[in-house]
């Protein structure tokens, strides 16, 4: 291969080698000690967040308009569907009311102290998954708004991820489908515990379930609250397949068209803790639910 004109001189050639080794070095250090570049990441992300926020707003508005136009087309069918759903939900509401009363009475009998003081914060998604092999998004709220590492991120449908790093006015949410995501979960009906492990596919795997656990497609998965970071009982998904290559879970929440998400502040630090590099969280985080 011919050496390029811009790489002709010795100085430039050594600059190339130096930078290439530099890139490799950054990769190796980043792998060995992921926290070493955390601060740099946070600073840059915080700087870019306002720009991303500004660009993503009109894009979101435009796509909402397009969605509105589409829904105008099949208004009648949609109306029908909603009416049926409403009927069904009313039945559920009645069921929930009576269960709630029963639950409260039983709790009273047991003298049970619920510890679920939760606070919700809404944040806008300003940065999408960047590329085919990465499953995390940027949001426009950070430590200044009380966002903390490890908080659960949910959409209206269910759990979508957890906060992985926090800047002052931006934060990164690691989606449950990412290969680095591990969420303690429990099968709602049978109380079989497990860990939901992402592997970059649309359906994460359910691992570490006991060997003789009864697993069947259609079982509902919720967060277990183990590790004390996530509140227990957040809906996660349904068991999709049980087979030779493990158990797959189809999440309720989808990262497509995710304009806003909610962060659940459970007021606990749990096993995640705060990375040393993370800016000190304001007292709002600490005051909730202790």
């Amino acid at each position: 291969m011919r050496i390029a004109a811009p790489l002709r001189t010795l100085a430039q050639r050594s600059a190339f080698a130096f930078l290439l080794v530099g890139a490799l070095g950054v990769m190796v250090v980043g792998k060995a000690r992921p926290e070493s570049f955390e601060q740099a990441r946070i600073v840059v992300t915080d700087l870019v967040a306002p720009i991303l926020g500004a660009i993503s707003q009109p894009v979101a508005t435009a796509s909402r308009l397009a969605a509105d136009a589409r829904s105008m087309m099949d208004l009648r069918a949609e109306n029908d569907r909603l009416r049926r759903e409403n009927e069904r939900l009313k039945q559920w509401q009645a069921a929930a009311r009576s269960l709630d009363v029963e639950n409260r009475q039983l709790r009273g009998l047991l003298n049970y102290q619920p510890s679920n003081a939760r606070r919700y914060r809404t944040a806008r998604v300003i940065g999408d998954k960047g590329g085919a092999f990465l499953h995390s998004v940027l949001i426009n709220e950070g430590a200044a708004a009380g966002v903390g590492r490890g908080q659960a991120a949910i959409t209206g449908d269910g759990l979508i991820g957890r906060v992985a790093s926090v800047g002052d006015r931006s934060a990164r949410v690691l989606l449950i489908t990412d290969i680095n995501s591990r969420i303690p979960v429990v099968i709602e009906a049978t109380r079989v515990r497990g860990v939901l492990a992402g592997d970059n596919s649309a359906q994460p795997r359910l691992t570490f379930t006991s060997a003789n656990a009864l697993l069947a497609p259609g079982q509902r998965i919720v967060t277990s609250g183990h590790g004390d970071v996530f509140p227990p009982g957040l809906p996660v998904g349904l068991v999709a397949t049980v087979g030779e290559d493990g158990v797959r879970v189809a999440p309720f929440a989808s990262a497509d068209r995710m304009e806003y998400l909610q962060l659940v502040d459970y007021g606990r630090e749990g096993v995640v803790g705060d990375a040393p590099a993370t800016p000190a969280a304001p007292n709002t985080t600490a005051s909730a639910g202790r």
Binding site: M1, R2, I3, A4, A5, P6, L7, Q12, A15, F16, L19, L20, G22, A23, L24, G25, V26, M27, G30, F37, A40, R41, V44, T45, V48, I51, L52, I55, S56, V59, A60, S63, R64, A67, V125, I126, G127, D128, K129, G130, G131, A132, F133, L134, S136, V137, L138, A164, R172, L174, I179, N180, D199, N200, S254, A255, D256, R257, M258, E259
Partner: protein, 170 residues
Amino acid sequence: MLARVETQARLTLPFLLSAFLAILAIVPLQIPGFAVVSPMLVLGSIYYWAIYRPQVLPLIAVFGVGLFEDILTGAPLGVSSFAYLVSFAVVAGQRRFFIGKNFAVVWWGFALVAGAVEGLRWLLISGFAGAVIDPTPGLFAYGSTVAVYPVLTLLFLLTQRILPQPAEYA
């Protein structure tokens, strides 16, 4: 003096444009499934300047844009820097072959480079995760990257027009 400053400022355009493309690449488009096929916009920029004006995108800028993109996308740091440095050097080495050729040839060259970069990225990120990641989304992203290159080229052509000629700053 002022003219000099202005010349220098215009020379940073390819770098700024590349950085801007890195930001643009992660703007949520709210299109179902789009994130999976999100094209590698920055690579288009690296490729174009490597062929037509390698002097205006110094190696350190290539390195920096890669780092910047990795930070924004949450990728393991250094992966894009590495991939872009290698592509830039290889393409700049072959630039005489591409200059003066019609667009189809340049596009074909880009398809080759994009394939190599997507493959390298898959390899590095898999290595980082310590597991073999499903490469299928990479294929989609590759397709969209190649498909979007002609549009990007228009943008680069416009930018190149306002760049100072080499005689002005040499």
